[in-house]
């Protein structure tokens, strides 16, 4: 039997044993996860469908958008997949504990790379199924398409996923192999990024609205729509191919599918060759980094002085967490990529001329930005805040046995993550509002909303992280994908929807004069009250249950 067959057989066994593990879980738990997943897909389907119906009411302009949205959707998915693959590939290809096991066995470096690439593709793309399914479903329902549309989408999605994931994996292998490891280079890289951001910011006109831009120009409002139709993009091949086959154009559709398959196969061959040439040396580089310190590390020595007002135990925990975070490139690079991308988009808002469009649209974009940033916050909350107690792992006894209480431990985790989250999220929302030139009222509401979302996400993630603590698991991805992690993500998403949608709707109705200013003010007051209730219930409640649970399970 070939090595490849053995490796894939192992994956098959692991997959089937997952069912065995699930069968010993509580049925209520499995039922809850299933219902939540179906519910989430249904809600997203409804949102997408309503979106299509809304665009439909705009006649010509709306129809242009709808026709181009499918291509644009694949472009957006592709970009997200590449970034997702960059993040996942690093931990899967270079940081996996499985690598030393395979390296001492007669497995080729190219085989390990290819096997790990497929694992990374699976890990980075499964979540997108939850976006693809409702979107494609809503699109097909809206256009009254046949079932074949779903089949073609599936057939085209597989090579498309491989292509996007391959770009990410190839980039990370080359980047890790050839990037100098010195701190000087790292700071140089950060300085270059900061300079680029400043230059982009300075080059953007921040003056008054350009009156000429008030003319309705589709390509200016949604410039991505034109770019998405570039025939050199694999996303274009996928969307065009699906459409062609759905409309019975077999040869055109077949050509696009072959194009995708050929590109995917070529990239697999490239990964195989790059793996054979670079994998071993690159893996050694990642393993040997950091073993060269004779000097005492001075990372954040100033933190001591900065945190002078805190008591010794809280200060110690915060210092430890900050040091661990910044010494793990996987952690800070993920945060940098997520917030960096969203920051780059906010800074470039004026390049898209969003600041010069009608107030109604600007308000809508401002709320969409809050929604988008909240989504990023919820995924980061699930990725970093939720598993932080579990990741204390074998070292939890050090904290657990120290003269401090579980309540202080949990609250320290909560407040320190909230502090970091609020600084980043409020800064980004202020940039977005400034770039969009929104009214003062909208600015205050969006800042209040993002602060509320931050409190809720930190509360939920810390609280549920304490309730579902798993000190045996060392892999953050496994902690996050467990029941508690899934529940945390679902509840965070629910909070985002029930907090942002009502306020956005009231402001929209006011802008389009469907309700009076007085009614809007009254409704906003009620919504404020609603917001306070849901913030309290999604932060205080999980935190107190989490603390109780930790106290109860002290003997873990």
């Amino acid at each position: 039997m070939s090595i490849e067959k053995a490796l894939f057989k192992k994956i098959k066994y692991s997959f089937f044993n997952l069912g065995r593990i699930l069968s010993i879980q509580s049925r209520l738990k499995v039922f809850f996860i299933l219902c939540s997943t179906i519910g989430l897909i249904a809600v997203m389907w409804l949102m997408f469908y309503s979106g299509f119906r809304y665009f439909d009411t705009m006649s010509g302009f709306g129809n242009i958008i709808i026709n181009k949205l499918f291509t644009f959707f694949f472009l957006g998915m592709g970009v997200m997949l590449v970034f997702s693959s960059i993040i996942t590939s690093y931990s899967t290809i270079f940081r996996s504990e499985e690598i030393p096991f395979l390296l001492v066995r007669p497995v080729g470096y190219n085989q390990i790379t290819l096997y790990k690439f497929f694992e990374s593709t699976l890990l980075s793309s499964w979540a997108f199924v939850f976006i693809i399914l409702p979107y494609v479903g809503a699109y097909a329902t809206y256009n009254e398409m046949s079932v074949l549309f779903a089949i073609w989408t599936l057939i085209f999605s597989i090579p498309f996923l491989i292509i996007c994931s391959a770009f990410g994996s190839i980039f990370i292998i080359i980047f890790v192999r050839f990037t100098p490891k010195s701190k000087k280079f790292f700071f140089f890289l950060i300085a270059v990024i900061v300079c680029l951001l400043i230059v982009t910011f300075l080059l953007n006109p921040t003056s008054d609205t350009d009156k000429a831009m008030e003319v309705f120009d589709v390509s200016a409002i949604l410039p991505g729509l034109n770019f998405a139709s570039n025939p050199m993009l694999p996303s274009f091949w996928a969307s065009e191919g699906i459409m062609a086959l759905t409309h019975g154009q077999i040869f055109r559709g077949g050509m696009f599918w072959l194009l995708l398959m050929l590109t995917a196969t070529s990239l697999l061959v490239l990964i195989n060759d790059i793996g054979g040439l670079l994998f071993y040396n690159t893996w050694l580089l990642t393993m040997e980094g950091g073993q060269n310190n004779k000097r005492a590390p001075i990372l954040f020595k100033w933190l001591d002085k900065l945190l002078f007002f805190l008591s010794h135990d809280i200060k110690a925990m915060i210092k430890k967490d900050v040091r661990i975070f910044f010494r793990d490139p996987v952690q800070w690079s993920q945060v940098l990529i997520f917030f960096g991308l969203i920051g780059l988009y906010f800074i470039n808002i004026r390049n898209f001329h969003y600041h010069s469009i009608d107030a109604m649209w600007r308000n809508m974009i401002a709320f969409l930005n809050v929604f988008c940033l909240s989504m990023v916050l919820s995924s980061l909350g699930s990725r970093f805040i939720y598993p932080q107690l579990s990741l204390e792992g074998q070292g939890f006894w050090v904290i657990g046995l120290s003269p401090t209480s579980m309540k202080r431990i949990v609250l320290t985790k909560f407040f320190s993550s909230l502090f970091a989250m609020i600084i980043i999220s409020v800064t980004l929302i202020l940039i977005s509002s400034f770039m969009l030139n929104v009214e003062k009222e909208v600015l205050i509401i969006t800042v209040a909303l993002i602060v509320s979302v931050s409190i809720a996400i930190c509360g939920l993630s810390t609280g549920l992280g304490a309730i579902f603590i798993d000190l045996k698991q060392r892999n953050p991805a496994a902690i996050v994908s467990g029941f508690g992690g899934t529940l945390n993500l679902i509840l965070s998403l629910c909070f985002i929807i029930v907090s942002i949608v009502p306020i956005g709707l009231i402001l929209h109705l006011k802008t389009v004069s469907k309700i009076t200013s007085q009614t809007a003010e009254n409704l906003l007051m009620f919504t404020g009250l609603w917001l306070i209730i849901i913030i309290l219930s999604s932060s205080i409640l999980p935190l107190s249950v989490g603390i109780k649970s930790l106290n109860k399970n002290k003997g873990m």
Partner: protein, 249 residues
């Protein structure tokens, strides 16, 4: 057999500011050692002496800064696949696939070495019986205790009959029954021609099973010889005294 010639491993680089500012750490310095076929060689040393670094270089998990290694005449740098076919490695904290059953893990390991399926099944019964794993055949690895996991890793490592075996701390977390089992098995395997290179802190184990002992200190091999040679050379009749006097503790 294992031939190690002037093997060194250093981390970091020399700074221009002289030795005071040097960030270079030499974990292993100029190690030269020949271990003939069928020898059970015990590598002793205090914590941080370079034992694990040496074993990692021999198994290809670390690249030497200089020097050469030959595993039964094969240079692992040039032909890593051939060298890995004939070695077995049991690390101190072995990685196991949590979501596989013990049988599936055993089969998977056999398939990686391209062992015929019938042969794997045959050896599974034999090996599981030897290591007392028969009643855990369908248990997921994640549900095994530490001792059972260690037994499983021994069982799978012997599956492809390695000619050379590297073991890092072989007796961690094992019960007296398994310790006796492992010791007897290692002696028997060495008698049958397997070359065994093991690192340990347990001096009694080295006294009990080693054909030859090497002591490493701050990356340098400071002593080698059979137990009787060491007793004679140092005028002492227990390994503990020799070890402590050599390592200065």
């Amino acid at each position: 057999m294992i031939r190690i010639n002037k093997l060194s491993k250093s981390y970091g680089s020399e700074n221009h500011g002289g030795a005071q500012n040097s960030r270079k750490v030499e974990a292993v310095k100029n190690l030269t050692l020949n271990i003939p076929k069928g020898e059970l060689f015990c590598f002793l040393g205090p914590n941080g002496a370079g034992k694990t670094t040496t074993i990692k270089m021999l198994t290809g998990l670390l690249r030497p800064s200089s020097g050469s290694i030959l595993i039964n005449g094969i240079d692992p740098e040039k032909d890593h696949i051939s060298s890995k076919r004939i070695i077995g490695y049991i690390p101190d904290m072995p990685y196991l696939y949590e979501r596989l059953t013990t049988t599936e893990f055993f089969e998977f390991t056999g398939e990686l070495y391209d062992i015929h399926k019938e042969s794997i099944i045959e050896k599974l019964e034999e090996s599981f019986a030897l290591f007392g794993l028969l009643e855990y055949k369908n248990v997921l690895v994640k549900d095994l205790s530490h001792g059972l996991r260690q037994r499983l890793i021994y069982s799978t490592t012997f599956l492809h009959d390695p000619e050379i075996l590297f073991i890092d701390e072989p007796l961690i977390g094992l019960d007296p029954y398994t310790i006796r089992l492992i010791k007897d098995l290692l002696k028997e395997k060495a008698e049958n021609g397997m070359t065994i290179f093991l690192t340990t802190h347990i001096l009694a184990l080295a006294e009990d099973i080693a054909h030859r002992i090497g002591i490493i200190m701050r990356g340098e091999l400071i002593e080698t010889g059979t137990l009787s040679e060491l007793y004679e050379k140092h005028g002492k009749n227990n390994l503990e005294d020799i070890f402590l006097s050599l390592t200065g503790k």
